[in-house]
Amino acid sequence: MKPKILWIEDEATGDMSSFAGPVYASMKYEFVIAGNASEGIRRIIEAESSPFLAVIVDIRLQPGDTEEWIDYFGQRGKDPKAARLGRELLYWLFKHEQANVKLMDKRPQWIVNQQHRFGILSVETKEELKKDLDELGITEHVTKKEDTPHTVLLDMIKKLVPKISNPARESEA
């Protein structure tokens, strides 16, 4: 069984599709894409019995079909830049009390103290997100720029699972 990777990114099949190429091409991962915040949370919750080894999150996300996300998105002028739903998603997971979007109280157990499995791939710079990264305890962050290599996603995954030389075999073991 291959290790599971989750990429929460609303442009995964659009402008960011080239980032997915190397991950698929490697054939080493069970690669799951969530196109919005609602789907991202759903995937994370459903992974209780089979957790993700790495989760890469974009900051500017669409809300999807969950009422709470839609409401919050609406309050922020339906502007992904202002709503920063990826940030809200991470706060709900790791700093529940500070989250602006109040989902159900029960969060998945597998994410507890697992910030090291999470990375952020967004247009925001590290400086812009420093406070949040510190608060959340997330260290892996890459800024999307015009010169970002198309292997960035795969590189991040490798960093997030550095001790697994052959993830597929490790996972099976």
């Binding site: 659009g14 190429g21 698929y24 091409a25 339906k78």
Partner: protein
């Protein structure tokens, strides 16, 4: 003063003349010594006993007799003719008013020994009643400052119940909100001999204040240290409140009137004074040109006022360069209306004799506008550079496409993931077959390939993926980058194979096939880039037009609406082709003419058409999507409708008008596959509103039975551009 020193002699003389007025002689205490028949009739006195009566008994307010006598004696003391005074008498229970013109009688004549009075009485009841019913307050004050008469209008004005509540009970100072002001009024009266239309604040019985315009004249000689007076009051509270508000509104108000060929400032408010650095009240009387920077500015400004006046309108929003008294230049926004003389026929306007206006200091705004204009021009130039760069990029992609050899794809048009899959299918199969052949040969001959076990595993993985990409990559859009990467990675691994290998030919074959796969991938990417550049170029142009909207000249001309639509359609014909969307012109009124700026309206239409193309879905399998354009004429308006069948616009977005906010895109439309800047609708509405029109949106389920909140179904969206018809 009577010439007769002897009262009896005077009476005898009076008896011998027959004057057509009532006249009398009384002792100094007012007791009658003589009255002619007219007077007896007037006062209803009887000839046989009137000598026992006193004229003072007839006074409606006996206190007034003293005031009357004082005034008469005061005048006599100054050798002046005593004034005629109107007195209220009560006769048979009825109030009458008489005008009493009376002289004192001294005996001997040159002495100060007063023995009586001789006078005439004229019945002025009718005139006085009219005066008392005037809708203005009328009052009289005695030399002690007590109010001795008020009319009903004044009683009502001051909210008292009756004249008796004031007369002899209130000093005039008590009626003033600030008694000091009463002294000022009185002093002014003494100094000027009359006071006309002086604004005074009085206090009503309920404690509230009232502003009146007071006019008064003295009874007696104002040069002496006491003055009784009579006057009228007009309630000007509302006007005064407005005037006070006008003093503090942040707008300079003024009036200019021509006098002896000069424009003279009048009625300048406090803000006007402050705006131009005058001491309070000192702008009035100055020449208007004192605030103008140059005679040319004055001429231009006055011409603008005349031009507006010819159209029957005030001059609005005129930016005038002016100067303060210290020479500082300030910019003001002038809103000015011409003042006319009355025309000769009495109805039409005569010549312009002045102007009235409101001024606003916009110096900071002008500076800001200049900055914005500069910034806008700079930004426009930057966007122009972008457009040029994009044009160059487009040429580069075209050139690159040509250099990539035979191109199986159409020059314009979107390459869908399905088409990409089909195009790659055969080259990828050939590549995999050649790779399998190579590896099987090597395996049979046990030829080392210089690869690590991990690299062998990678090679296996890539091979598995390329044999069946649909199985491992369910999302079609993601197959192309994965295939490209897998092939490139295999090529990298092939480089590690033994260079002296006996399988050079097979390796070359694999590489040749790999290059074909990568060539097709490159072609697809170059087409995508070319399309994206085309779309981006249009967006940059839209943003540039939007940003520079206000600094471009508004060039209006007559245009057939059909021609404007044709031009908008031609703007996006390529894009529609790329999207495989057909543009249908349903019914376009051929003769509707608009008086508009062609560039702006075509751009507005193009914006709406672009959206309609972007958000169109295929209505039937195998039938390309289409957009309908049609016009409707509603009274004096033409409605140009752009209708698509596809992406819904949620009801709340329409209701809250969010789509017209700059930079905002609908939540169901904000994917980058449908590029957009979020300025198109805002720009279109701004253009429409420049002509008094608007842009409106209706979006409803394409299936009339569909639930209006189910946004997964196709919606029929109609965006209407409404513009005024010049002629039809």
């Amino acid at each position: 003063m009577s010439d007769c020193s002897n009262v009896a002699e005077l009476i005898e003389k009076l008896k011998q003349v027959d004057l057509p007025v009532g006249y009398y002689v009384v002792e100094k205490d007012g007791r009658f010594l003589y009255a002619n028949k007219l007077l007896l009739d007037l006062l209803h006195l009887k000839a046989d006993n009137y000598l026992q009566a006193s004229i003072a008994d007839k006074y409606a307010n006996p206190e007034e007799r003293k005031t009357f006598v004082d005034i008469v004696l005061g005048a006599a003391a100054r050798n002046q003719q005593p004034p005629k005074q109107v007195i209220s008498f009560t006769v048979e229970g009825r109030e009458i008013f008489v005008q009493d013109h009376c002289w004192p009688i001294y005996n001997p004549p040159e002495s100060q020994k007063l023995v009586g009075f001789v006078g005439s009485l004229v019945d002025v009841t009718e005139e006085e009643r009219y005066r008392r019913k005037l809708p203005v307050g009328v009052y009289r004050v005695n030399p002690e400052g007590m109010v001795v008469y008020v009319n009903q209008a004044m009683v009502k004005m001051l909210k008292y119940g009756s004249p008796e509540d004031i007369v002899d009970k209130k000093s005039v100072g008590e009626l003033y909100f600030n008694p000091e002001k009463e002294k000022e009024f009185s002093d002014l009266l003494k100094e000027k001999g009359e006071v006309v239309d002086k604004k005074v604040e009085l206090v009503k019985s309920d404690g509230q204040t009232i502003w009146v315009s007071a006019s008064a004249y003295p009874l007696g000689d104002p040069k002496v240290d006491w003055v009784s007076r009579e006057g009228v009051l007009v309630n000007v509270t509302v006007e005064e409140l407005y005037r006070q508000i006008m003093e503090y509104v942040p707008v300079g108000l003024y009036r200019v009137l021509k006098k002896d060929g000069k424009n003279i400032l009048h009625d300048c408010n406090r803000q006007f004074d402050e705006m131009f650095g005058f001491a309070p009240g000192t702008a009035n009387g100055q020449r208007a040109e004192i605030v103008h920077v140059s005679p040319e500015d004055t001429v231009k400004y006055e011409k603008a006022i005349r031009d507006a006046d010819l159209l029957g309108q005030p001059l609005v929003g005129y930016v005038l360069r002016t100067k303060k008294q210290d020479g500082t230049i300030i910019f003001i926004e002038a809103n000015t209306r011409a003042i006319h003389k009355r025309g000769e026929s009495g109805t039409e306007k005569g010549e312009i004799i002045g102007r009235i206006g409101a001024l606003r200091d916009i110096t900071n705004e002008v500076a800001l506008r200049e900055q914005v204009k500069e910034f806008t021009e700079d930004f426009g130039a930057v966007l122009h550079e972008y457009s040029s760069a994009l044009l160059m990029l487009r040429e580069s992609t075209d050139s690159a496409l040509e250099s990539l050899g035979q191109d199986p794809f159409p020059k314009v048009g979107e390459i869908t993931p399905r088409v990409a899959d089909q195009s790659l299918s055969e080259p990828v199969s050939k590549f995999i077959d050649s790779l399998i052949r190579l590896r099987s040969q090597m395996s049979v001959n046990r030829q080392p390939a210089n690869l690590t076990p991990e690299e062998f595993e990678d090679l296996d993985n890539y091979q598995v993926l390329l044999k069946n990409p649909e199985k491992y990559i369910p999302e079609p859009a993601l197959r192309l980058p994965a295939i490209r990467d897998a092939v490139k990675n295999i090529l990298n691994l092939l480089d590690k194979f033994e260079s002296s290998s006996q399988y050079q030919e097979q390796i070359k074959d694999v590489k040749r096939n790999a290059e074909e796969v990568l060539r097709i991938c490159s072609l697809i990417y170059m087409h995508k880039a070319g399309n994206a550049i085309l779309s981006l170029g249009k967006q940059v142009r839209a943003v540039r037009n939007f940003v520079t909207f206000h600094i471009r000249e508004d060039r209006r001309d007559m245009h057939f609406v059909s021609k404007l639509i044709d031009q908008a359609v031609s703007e996006w014909a390529d894009f529609a082709h790329i999207r495989n969307v057909e543009i249908k012109l349903d019914y376009i009124h051929p003769n509707v003419i608009l008086n508009v700026s062609k560039d702006d309206v075509v751009r507005a239409m193009a914006n709406l058409l672009h959206n309609a193309i972007k958000y169109s879905w295929e209505r039937k399998q195998g039938v390309p999507p289409w957009v309908d354009i049609r016009t409707r004429v509603v009274q004096k308006w033409v409605h140009i409708e752009f209708e698509d069948w596809g992406v819904p616009i949620p009801a709340d977005e329409i209701k809250n008008d969010v789509l017209f906010r700059i930079g905002v895109r609908g939540r169901l439309s904000s994917d980058r596959e449908r590029g957009g800047t979020g300025v198109g609708l805002a720009d279109a509405r701004r253009v429409a509103q420049r002509y008094g029109g608007d842009v409106t949106i209706v979006s409803r389920p394409a299936d009339s039975k569909g639930k209006p909140d189910n946004y997964k179904q196709p919606f029929l969206t109609t965006v209407t551009l409404r513009l005024p018809i010049f002629s039809n």
